[in-house]
């Protein structure tokens, strides 16, 4: 166990090996690893971006759905309001129409009644006149009593 030339030889060999690793081995691997790290970093960045855009579009679609829902609710409310309104209108109209018809019918009836009354009166006057004529023909001169008769007739009317 003694030191000899081997020591220096080994040191030279060590130096040569270090030089080889520093100059030749390490750079190759460093390049490969760095490139891979860059690829991975890029991929991660792309994934992050994708996630973000997904988030944005999710938010957008949610917004759209919400808007659509609101719009639909609005439309339904409007339709309901309109329907109620239409029903009301129809009801009012029908009532008015009914009232008018009723009034017209009543007027008609009154007219008819008046007409019937008139006719009745006419007939009663005629009948009375006829009765009176029959009675008076025998006793009274028609000519003298014509005034009377006409007056009677007018009264009856």
């Amino acid at each position: 166990m003694s030191f000899n030339l081997t020591l220096l030889t080994q040191m030279l060999a060590f130096a040569a090996f270090i030089l080889f690793t520093v100059k030749v081995v390490w750079p190759y691997l460093l390049r490969a690893i760095e490139t891979r790290q860059k690829t991975i970093a890029d991929g991660l960045a792309a994934a992050e971006q994708g996630r973000k855009s997904l988030e944005v579009s999710t938010r957008q679609s949610e917004e759209t759905v919400r808007q659509g829902r609101e719009r639909a609710a609005e439309v339904i409310a409007q339709a309901e309001k309109r329907a109620a309104q239409m029903i009301d209108e129809a009801r009012t109209q029908a009532k008015e129409e009914g009232d008018r018809e009723k009034t017209a019918a009543r007027a008609e009836i009154e007219q008819q009644v008046a007409r019937a009354k008139e006719a009745l009166r006419e007939q009663v006057a005629t009948l009375a006149m006829a009765g009176a004529e029959k009675i008076l023909r025998r006793e009274v001169d028609a000519k003298t009593h014509a005034d009377l008769l006409v007056r009677l007739k007018q009264e009856l009317r």
Binding site: T6, M11, F14, F17, T21, V25, A32, R36
Partner: protein, 269 residues
């Protein structure tokens, strides 16, 4: 174990602990542990070459299993560096260095898994009777690493603070800038540098060397007979499994300390 020799425990261990040495000049220093150098360089070339081969075709898309394994390894190392080093671009030097240390030390430690006698047998077959297959059980290899780390940490200390700043720190930290305290500061810093380097190298060496010795003892036991073989096998298996932990743990610790020492060099006091 060379063929034709009597089995003798001390010879056996001695044999496995003998380096394949090549004298290159006068004196003990001018020898080279050929086995350590060749094994470690081969392992480094294999390990780092494999990683290079995989990352060369690395795709930034979905990685295949090969690439995923290498990326797992590199990201593991990079995570450790990221947690400790906050003094600039770690990709420029410290992270690849930590990777080099971890891969190389793991592989060198892992040579311990190979059954020593099979290795010895195979190498003996081609005429190499003395060959230590575990480079980190050679103190030269571990000190080569830790002294390199020491030099790197001094280099980065000077690079981060300037030479003047570094010298100032050597004399004025940690106790204070009073001239009376300069010797104490300098002594403290020198001891710190030396002890860091020593413990860094000795920890790795001690663990792996001890593991190797324990394997030798178990295989010696296995050579004593049926009972020895039986227990040798089971204890050997247990130790090998436990050694997986030690191999990885020591490589991890060595890497972490390398990162810590180089990071500390960047810090201003």
């Amino acid at each position: 174990m060379a063929a034709g020799k009597e089995l003798n425990p001390s010879d056996y261990i001695q044999h496995h602990l003998t380096f394949f040495r090549a004298p290159l000049g006068e004196g003990e220093f001018w020898t080279l542990n050929v086995d350590t150098v060749i094994t470690s360089v081969l392992l480094g070339v294999m390990g780092l070459g494999l990683i290079w081969w995989v990352v060369r075709g690395a795709t930034s898309g979905v990685p295949d299993r090969r690439q995923a394994f290498v990326e797992l390894l590199i990201e593991f190392v990079d995570d450790q560096v990221k947690g400790i080093f906050h003094h600039g671009d770690r990709n420029r030097f410290i992270a690849p260095t930590a990777l080099t240390v971890f891969v190389w030390v793991t592989l060198m430690n892992a040579m311990d898994f190979l059954p020593v006698d099979w290795v010895a047998g195979a190498l003996g077959f081609i005429g190499l009777h003395e060959w230590r297959p575990v480079p980190t059980a050679d103190i030269n290899a571990t000190f080569a690493l830790s002294i390199s780390v020491l030099l790197l940490s001094i280099y980065f200390a000077i690079a981060a603070k300037g030479f003047g700043g570094w010298v100032h720190e050597m004399f004025c930290a940690p106790f204070g800038a009073n001239p009376l305290l300069w010797p104490a500061n300098l002594l403290f810093n020198l001891v710190e540098y030396v002890s860091k380097t020593l413990s860094h190298a000795m920890r790795l060496f001690g663990n792996i060397y001890a593991g190797e010795i324990l394997f030798f003892l178990l295989w010696l036991w296995a050579a004593t007979g049926v009972a020895g073989s039986f227990f040798g096998f089971w204890f050997g298996l247990g130790w090998a499994i436990f050694h997986i932990l030690i191999v990885l743990l020591q490589a991890y610790i060595f890497m972490m300390l390398t990162i810590v020492y180089i990071s500390m060099a960047h810090e201003h006091h």
